[in-house]
């Protein structure tokens, strides 16, 4: 049994420590999933040229010289845009080929992960890509390639971050 004397010693200690405990616990609150996020969408036109090059506006993307992207040797930046997202709600982005990219983001299985649903629809509503669902680390891009565009294809880079 805890004597009154012992209790009286423990109580101040508890009161002194509890703010520290709450400070330690605070980061877990900070890890709570945000209600909003944003998707960075990079749209590139890939084609095959006699003297291909990578548009410097794309930035440093060594992977474009590697498979499977190296199937094309010329990459031009078409658009780069940040799309605000509400968690659990769909957002759309008009692609240069007339199609519409739809993104829906939800929290992933652990902090810092997102589950991203992407689909691409024709202007008439017909699905060109019904669904691709990925789990992605915040800020890490995945790619959707292969849609016909001009003399080549579109390569979309999609990264979701807080």
């Amino acid at each position: 049994m805890i004597s009154h004397r012992l209790f009286s010693r423990i109580l101040p200690l508890f009161l002194a420590v509890s703010p520290l405990v709450s400070l330690v616990a605070a980061p877990s609150v900070a890890h709570a999933d945000p209600a909003t996020a944003k998707a960075e969408i990079l749209v590139m036109h890939a084609s095959q040229k006699e003297k291909g090059a990578i548009d410097p506006h794309i930035g440093s993307m060594p992977r474009l010289k590697q498979p499977p992207f190296s199937a094309y040797n010329n990459y031009e930046l078409v658009d780069r845009k940040e799309v605000p997202l509400e968690i659990g709600k769909s957002a759309t982005y008009a692609l240069p080929n007339g199609r519409v990219l739809q993104l829906t983001v939800s929290p992933g299985k652990s902090p810092g992960l997102f589950t991203i649903l992407a689909s691409i629809a024709e202007a008439n509503g017909k699905a060109a890509l019904k669904t691709v669902e990925v789990s992605a680390k915040a800020g890490e891009p995945f790619f959707v390639a292969g849609q016909t565009y001009k003399d080549g294809i579109l390569v979309l880079g999609i990264a979701v971050k807080k």
């Binding site: 590697q66 498979p67 019904k130 669904t131 691709v132 992605a136 016909t148």
Partner: protein, 213 residues
Amino acid sequence: MARPAKLTEERMLALMAYADGEGDVASRAEILASLQHDPEGQAFVASLLDLSPFAAEAAAVEVPDLSGVTAAILAATAPATAAEKAPVVSAPAAIDFAAARRRKSGWGGILAGGLALAAAVALYAQVKSGAPVAINSANSAVLVASAAPSIAPLASAAPAEPSAIAANGPPAVVEVNRVDSDTPVDVFLIPAESTPGTSVVVWLGDDNALGGP
């Protein structure tokens, strides 16, 4: 696009095992000796040991083109024996990677898709399905799954041994759970951008596209 000389799939798998610290002393010594006169192999091992995109780009190895890619197909759901007995399986319109992973979780989590790497980069297949994976050895991209809505076989080639290298490879920082499309779709694993691990490329078999990989 010029097609440089490249490592065979068998050679790459051996080098990946070496880079991963696998094999007994004798076999490792044998591979080490063979590397003495194999600059491509050296560069390949170097790229495996440092997967950062920048380091990969710096590797002085040419990347073969992918114009000849024909197939590397994952039997996402069929066990090996079934694949052998029924080599042609009608592909579903959707590939549910997450379900396949769940079904095969008893296998130990991560099993290899397949590996065939560009010399400058290591592409780790991390399909955790446990299903056999066939890779076209003439190509350098890692195609972990391929599906067409109606006619293309999902598993048409003899099953291959899962790669222990892939099982020990870097974690997936982007992981495909599901793909559903009316058009043929290929899924590739590529090195992630910011951290060691893999990301994905979903390649649509769009009409009139210039072939794709």
